[in-house]
Subunit: 365 residues, 2 copies
């Protein structure tokens, strides 16, 4: 393999699906959690920045870059909560991986499915540090695209045995129950008629709702001592899920504080509200859960490092499984300073005769 | 066409080459100048930001987003001046275009060739406003990948009849002369032994050098009254081409002042150094060149709006010429909330049986 193949690896959505089917979702998630733990543990290696967001009346479009000494990665992702009414997913994503030494792109990848995988894996990474080890029951509020991934990850990797489901869209819960019944036989599934009912008796409360609003999916009164709140849906200014009154009574953990203060549940709190970054707990530099009665909150917004990890992890697996396609994204040049030579036919005849009046205006401006 | 085709148009480098060959480089550039003028004239329609740059010892990797009410666009581009020693282009780029109403990607495109086209077209747009109408001689300093595009654009669209060439790499000048002799017969080409010699008698001085250094390619003493300086190569902190002493004696024009103050020649000047944005001149709200003796500088750094324009322009042309390929970048879903359903085989059997010890550790972490 040369430094500059001129072609880029492409991981399509179809190929990513095949990869998950071949490896098995549980094993793939288990490996991804481990890869995330490794990358978060070398936190200082990364050039980090809050993501760049363009807000519209309908949603948000974001670019999420991150880099270490070896690679530069970025993801494009949108969030348009009304899309499903048009038959369109509310979240779509893709991204790329570049070599830092030459800047050359090496992978272009679908990231819609991969974002669902890495979000669930990140939730597991946090819950391993923050939830009570005895946790067996999880409330799952918001039963859209992300919900099956959270359910399966927490059942298979953390020992959850009972799920309590709620969504304002009953059809979304129907879909989730159908998928879980085929995929998670033996797990107890309870359909609830409100978020309050779902939270009752839960050890872990996972919120993955889509509305772009300062919502109160979980009120202070619903939260019991010892609970772990895995707050995934609130992830941009004006889009939150928790009653702000929960936060002063809880220990709050975040991915990257500068971004979370803009986008997370803690956007409601003063700039100096104390939070702990996950990497500090992973490395044992800060405590996670200290007491059985602690209320812990993972104020998840989604950080670019998770996509860096997922891009490298999926790339390596897809290569092993020969699921990458070549993509002609870059010029193939004999002389790297002769970009213009691309345009010349092999005979080196003129490609661009002086224009005549006849075709001078052929191309509409 | 539905709102969500599930597939994205892909414009490969090969297809972009075919497009230029079919339309002709001059006609394509002429149309692109016109499209740029239209988009720069509606400046207030765009959500603009300085690009996001990650600097390394070897170069820079950048993301350049911009949006209006209809579309969000971004480009990835690197700049690694030592790449050609490894057989790799110093600049590689690709980008994408999204619908703002749904966030759905609609085009993924090569932008290495397209960046060369839009950079030359932007230089022409500026020179039409700033250079003397009588300009016939252009110095072209830096004879790498961008140089043929600048030469051809200025000859064909602005009436340049004589080119004075210089590069510290004689082989680069050899390559440029070879390409120009086949493509621009009748144009006078002078090989020069220094930048100072190249600048002598020039009406327009175009600098397109690659070194990441505060270089003095053009000194104050070389600059004569009436010259237009098209300073293209200086485009990031610590990478400039002009003697700073030129700037106070010149009228300086930029694309987007907040970005240019970080990246352009004017990084040497105080924050309040007066500059004019091109759109102001295009709309007649500010003067361009006022006197034959004015020294004008287009302090070009490359702005995301140019890529937005180029992406939309190339997309429309490539569609007309049937040069787009479908790319499976997004999931195709019957139910937009059932992303998980992608993973299920048609028979809805379990895809992920409870792991046994045997394959629990099959995937390396």
């Amino acid at each position: 393999m040369t430094n500059y193949p001129g072609q880029v690896d492409f991981l399509s959505t179809d190929a990513a699906v095949l990869l998950v089917q071949r490896i098995g979702l549980t094993e793939l998630l288990r490996g991804l959690v481990s890869a995330l733990e490794q990358d978060f543990s070398r936190w200082e290696d990364f050039d980090k920045t809050a993501r760049l967001a363009h807000h519209t009346p309908d949603g948000v479009m974001e670019l999420m870059p991150v880099a270490d000494a070896s690679h530069f990665a970025f993801k494009y992702v949108n969030g348009h909560p009304k899309n499903p009414q048009l038959g369109i997913p509310s979240i779509m994503a893709f991204g790329a991986l570049m070599r830092a030494d030459t800047g050359a792109p090496i992978l272009l990848s679908e990231l819609t499915l991969t974002t669902a995988l890495r979000t669930a894996a990140t939730s597991v990474m946090a819950a391993k540090l923050l939830a009570r080890r005895s946790s067996r029951t999880m409330a799952l509020i918001g039963n859209g695209s992300q919900s099956e991934f959270q359910a399966l990850a927490f059942v298979r990797l953390l020992g959850i045995q009972s799920l309590r489901l709620y969504d304002i869209d009953a059809a979304a819960t129907d879909k989730l129950i159908h998928n879980l019944q085929t995929q998670l036989p033996g797990v107890q599934i309870q359909r609830c008629s409100s978020a309050a009912e779902a939270v009752q008796g839960a050890d872990i409360v996972t919120t993955v709702t889509a509305d772009k609003a300062n919502a109160t999916i979980v009120s202070r009164a619903m939260v019991q001592p010892g609970m772990h709140l895995n707050a995934v849906g609130g992830d941009c200014p004006g889009k939150t899920e928790l009653d702000a009154a929960i936060l002063p009574d809880a220990k709050v953990f975040v991915e990257f504080a500068p971004q979370s203060r803009i986008e997370g549940e803690i956007q409601h709190m003063p700039e100096d509200f104390a939070v702990t970054e996950l990497w500090q707990v992973l490395r044992g530099e800060q405590a996670g859960r200290q007491h059985e009665d602690d209320i812990t909150v993972f104020d998840s917004v989604g950080f670019a490092l998770e996509d860096y990890t997922a891009l490298r992890y999926m790339h390596a697996l897809a290569r092993q499984h020969q699921l990458l396609q070549p993509l002609a994204l870059l010029p193939q040049l004999d002389n790297p300073k002769n970009l213009f030579g691309l345009l010349l036919p092999p005979t080196a005849q003129r490609i661009d005769p002086a224009p005549t009046e006849a075709h001078r205006h052929a191309i509409p401006a």
